[in-house]
Amino acid sequence: MKPARFSYHLPATVDEAVALLAKLAPDDGRIIAGGQSLVPTMAFRMAQPPHLIDINGIAELNRIDVEGDIVRIGAGVRHAAFEAAGAVPGVTGVWLGQVVRHIAHYPIRTRGTFCGSVANADPASEWCCVVAALDGRVVAESASGTRRIAAADYFEGVMATSRRDDELVTAVELPLLPDGTRCGFAEFSRRPGDFAIAMAMTAYRLVDDLIVEARIAIGGAEPFPRRIAEAEAALNGQPPTAAVFAEVAAIAAAAVDPMEDSNNTADYRRSLVRAMTLRALEAAA
């Protein structure tokens, strides 16, 4: 189908965009970033925003900045940017470079943005799972000021977040993991490029051959991605052995409350969480 009519606005600065949002958000005016989630929903007429505010003309948003051990990803940065080696420094950059290959397909990654995925908050978004795994922060700007929202306070449900409609996500901030951190990622989808049915992200360091600073986040299974504290606690202090990984994967599977849909029962998703956690831990080792 064809999208319904909308007025189109092309601001050149964040200030202009935020002023437009203040005026048009009450009338369901929306931001368009990469358009790779919004335009399909408009084509289905599931979304019929009367105004689109296009942020692709705002040059100041097209940046990845590193300050100390924080990387700040601007709202104009496309998925494909993370495929280039060195886009983000250190182990975090290498890891993001592996994760990005699972997001949709190349011609979609040339347009879709990191922050657009985080604003959209699909349960199976890889970037949302990254933000949860790393305790990232969402930078939300409106006419009344700027908020930094921690991941744990940001995700609220299926495509529901604590961002207000009049707030523009100008950037997402992620902590850079220390050198030597081992990172793993695994997801299951029926065809390459499809949204995953479940995914797991893991990171840890070894001190004296024992695991410290364990992070385990699960996406796709529940309405929004989150760290699984029980599984992390079981991993910390242990050696990276097959037996430990198997036990931790079982704990993660028991801790989640999976969604059901016409293709996937909760039990099936739970088994996938176990398998993906195990694979992510093995990939990190």
């Binding site: 189109y8 358009g35 335009v39 084509a43 290959r101 190349y106 979609i108």
Partner: protein
């Protein structure tokens, strides 16, 4: 605020689209997708429309050299940028090596998906002539073909990649 460009929903606005080096001046509503404008308003019907929601890849064109889904962009968004479509591949009477390879390897049957596959493969190989076979397979998995079973498309793209590398 005075610098913000705004276009009213119901009104047609004049835009200039650079397709294969030729500028088309057309009047369109903001809601019209790039692929619809390329086909209906600019008359370049080589680019096809399949699903209209980003899944099939039939509408793939190059935007400043990058493959994109032209059903997931609005034409008003691409002013001042360079668009390449399948009509721009041929040089005079000579087919592009990718087009030739598709013929030689029977990489098309009905041909519906072909313009999308051609633009996808050409766009990626121009940027990354030495892309690995595995990565190329991953790239090609983004487009759908209901006829060929993909194997001949993969053979054609491999052959064209070699031809494009030798031609420099």
């Amino acid at each position: 605020m005075s610098d913000i460009k705004s276009m009213d929903a119901a009104e047609k606005v004049e835009i200039a689209l650079d397709i294969n080096g030729r500028v088309h001046r057309v009047r369109v509503e903001p809601r019209k997708t790039l692929v619809d404008v390329i086909r209906d308003d600019c008359g370049q019907t080589g680019t096809h429309i399949g699903c209209e929601h980003g899944v099939c890849g039939a509408c793939t064109v190059l935007l400043d050299g990058e493959p994109v889904r032209s059903c997931l962009m609005f034409a008003v968004q691409v002013q001042g940028r360079k668009i390449r479509t399948v009509e721009g591949l041929q040089r005079g009477d000579d087919l592009h090596p990718m087009q030739q390879a598709f013929m030689d390897h029977h990489a098309l049957q009905c041909g519906f998906c072909t313009p999308g596959f051609l633009m996808l493969a050409v766009g990626v190989l121009e940027k990354r002539p030495d892309i690995s076979d595995e990565e190329m397979l991953e790239v090609l998995s983004s487009n759908l073909c209901r006829c060929t079973g993909y194997q001949n498309i993969i053979k054609a793209v491999r052959a064209a990649a070699n031809a494009m590398r030798t031609a420099g």
